[in-house]
């Protein structure tokens, strides 16, 4: 953030008053929040896992992603030493998640939503994994490595 310039005018510009009015209006009119939204946001605090390793959504994902056929998507997460690539495939029974974990390590993986979690599945010798039945809405992956490390991905909207 750049600092406030010193050469700003000492007197308010003519439309400062209307801008302030508009600001007042923007905050006075309550946003019509759907029921349960505030409770869900508050409950998000219970999902903090500060002792686990976090693989963050790759910055590149925010502006450019690949799009395969059938509405699937490739999403990249990174931590200091690891990378997780995931594709989501909508299926009648829920989202199917396929992906790769690098560098290859012996691990089990599951998806987690605020409502439920999947059974853990193995990550194979090439680092590939597949999970099914994920609901739409917030999701993250949880990897349990054989060395006791637990790695979480950032939450995304499935």
């Amino acid at each position: 953030m750049t600092d406030i310039p010193d050469d700003a005018p000492d007197r308010p510009a003519p439309d400062d008053a209307s801008l302030l009015d508009e600001l007042r209006d923007a905050f006075e009119v309550d946003v019509d929040l759907p029921p349960g939204l505030v409770e869900a946001a508050r409950a998000a605090f219970d999902w903090r896992r500060i002792d686990d390793e976090l693989a963050e959504l790759s910055a590149g994902m925010q502006v450019a992603g690949t799009r395969a056929g059938g509405g699937s998507e490739a999403i990249v997460f990174r931590s200091a030493g690891r990378r997780v690539d995931v594709e989501l495939h909508p299926q009648p029974g829920g989202l199917v998640l396929t992906g790769q974990f690098e560098p290859v390590a012996s691990a089990r993986v599951r998806w987690e939503s605020p409502r439920r979690a999947s059974e853990a599945a193995p990550v194979d010798e090439l680092g590939m994994f597949q999970l099914a039945g994920a609901p739409p809405g917030p999701l993250r992956l949880v990897f349990d490595l054989d060395d006791g490390t637990r790695l979480l991905t950032d939450w995304i909207t499935g």
Partner: protein, 194 residues
Amino acid sequence: MVMTVLEVTTAGLVAAAGQGERAAWDQLVDRYGGLVFGVARSFRLSTADAADVSQTVWLRFAEHIDRLREPERAGAWLATTTRHECMRLLRTSGRVVISDDLGGTRDPADPVEADLLRSERRAAVREAFAHIPERCQRLLALLMADEVRPYRELAVELDMPVGGIGPTRARCLEHLRRALAVRVDADDVREDAP
């Protein structure tokens, strides 16, 4: 309303929530819940999708709260993260927006359309407000309160000279005007995003 919610600094709430204080977290939700949902709605997602994105953003925020580079700009982080998550969702999942008039003509004389435009404008103003420096947020929050207070009282509250209030007010509104004009561009990806 804005006055009361800004009595504790955002950075203070972020620090407390990062230490595990639930009350501080709840205050952050109260302060920015409307912002996050408003930004999601401005992408014209369905209510269900906007609510999902909102929850995703709060869940992600909980994991990032003790690693924000600029805790005082948590509102900007939330707005930017929401914006990016909406873009990612729309781009990669083939989600349908609820209105098909994007890019088409929008008639402000249509009462429904006028309501929509007004609410989008309010969301944009709130989002722009989240992106200006916190000292500006504090000053403008005091200035938009119903009760008109003398500058010398504001000066004490904000710990700045009386003569500085007027010029700072103008500069802060200029910050707001610019934030409103540019919204969030790609530079903010690097600046604010996790």
